[in-house]
Symmetry: C2
């Protein structure tokens, strides 16, 4: 009997936005795996540090911070091989995933490598998009509105088309792409419908109109563009 | 001192996909409010029935099942007035929301009426979209992919444009719109990229290729259209 790999969503960052199911799986885990950017502490692990059993084996998957995909692919290869060893010996492995495992999560790279050979269970988590909407106190989408998620690295044209085609938009992974996204929203006349949200649900959370956003955005920031404006819906 | 209204997301339906924060708020509630379709038990209440304190006051907001918006608006007016009475007397009110409160949730109608006058806190929840993706064991979006949510009541043209502009799509609220959505996906040549998911995370969950989906879909069903297909990402 081989073990099961669990991909458990942890939500946007506040420890109490973890689901009961994820908390239970983590609390009972023999083996825990998580990604970590080379040299830095793991954000995923920090969310649930208080839930990890003291005796658990921990597999830290160090992702190199370079733009080429080769080195990261090699890191996922190595991480998947290490997890596979545990699964092959019949131990379950609980893999920690910021947000939701299947929405822009690095867990997908492990899933692609291991799902063909082992039993995998996914536990969905609260996404940063709805957490940002809650932090901004503004509904994301109602009735028959179209809601689109756009990664900020997309081109000006792709961002423009995506924003134009939706009623509400979440633009993720801002980082160094913030000036480009500002330019696109200005050109569409949507800056005053745009809200900047940084580190939603964390102690350092920032929410403000885009016009008042800082010059530099971290990776864990997003812009919500909310075109609808009927206060009584 | 007036009370606080909490809009707490409950996730897609499995009781253990509630967050720790929502569970704590419900377990400590003096007053609980929830929507219910006239004559039927409340789905939201059923998710967390085991967490509601025995002595809690319950406010059931009966939503009439008619297509005109007037009667539903009147029901939200009355529900909001009843909640306002409790808040005005200094009691907190925990309002139960299927999925996430701010993504196609009926909570928005209460929020629009009460947020101008009372303190409101939103607790985000797991959405049915990522729960469906987990159930289907298929990632929703990776890297720089565009993800769009489309309500099935939209027109053929609006659905076609939304699907064409995204890499992954979740088509929500299928119900009686299933034949139209099938037609649109067939015309786009995307039927074999489409997965039907009904009642994700519940005991009666169904996941199958769209071609094998039943003729009739309930409201709590969706189609995931996943154009990307690189197993190693």
């Amino acid at each position: 009997m081989t073990g099961t790999m669990y991909g458990v969503g942890l939500g946007p960052g506040a420890p109490d936005l973890v689901t009961l199911r994820s908390a239970r799986l983590i609390g009972a885990a023999q083996v825990i795996a998580y990604p970590t950017l080379a040299g830095a502490p793991s954000f995923a692990r920090s969310i649930v540090a208080d839930l990890i059993p003291p005796g658990a084996t921990e597999i830290a998957i160090e992702i190199p911070m370079v733009r080429e995909r080769g080195p990261a692919q090699a890191a996922y290869d190595a991480g998947a091989a290490r997890i596979a060893e545990e699964l092959a010996q019949g131990r379950d492995v609980v893999t920690l995933c910021e947000g939701d495992p299947f929405l822009y999560g690095s867990f997908m790279y492990l899933h692609a490598r291991l799902a063909p050979r082992f039993r995998v269970e996914i536990v969905p988590g609260v996404t940063s998009m709805t957490a940002a909407s809650a932090a901004a106190r503004r509904p994301l989408a109602a009735r028959d509105e179209v809601f689109t998620v756009l990664p900020a690295p997309l081109s000006d044209d792709a961002l423009t088309a995506g924003i134009a085609g939706a009623d509400s938009v979440a633009i993720m992974k801002l980082g160094r792409h913030l000036p480009k996204v500002r330019r696109v929203l200005d050109a569409l006349g949507l800056t005053d419908r745009s809200i900047y949200v940084e580190r939603a649900t964390l102690g350092s959370e920032t929410v403000c109109p885009l016009a008042e956003a800082p010059e530099k955005a971290p990776y864990f920031s997003m812009i919500l563009v909310l075109k609808g404006n009927d206060p009584w819906l």
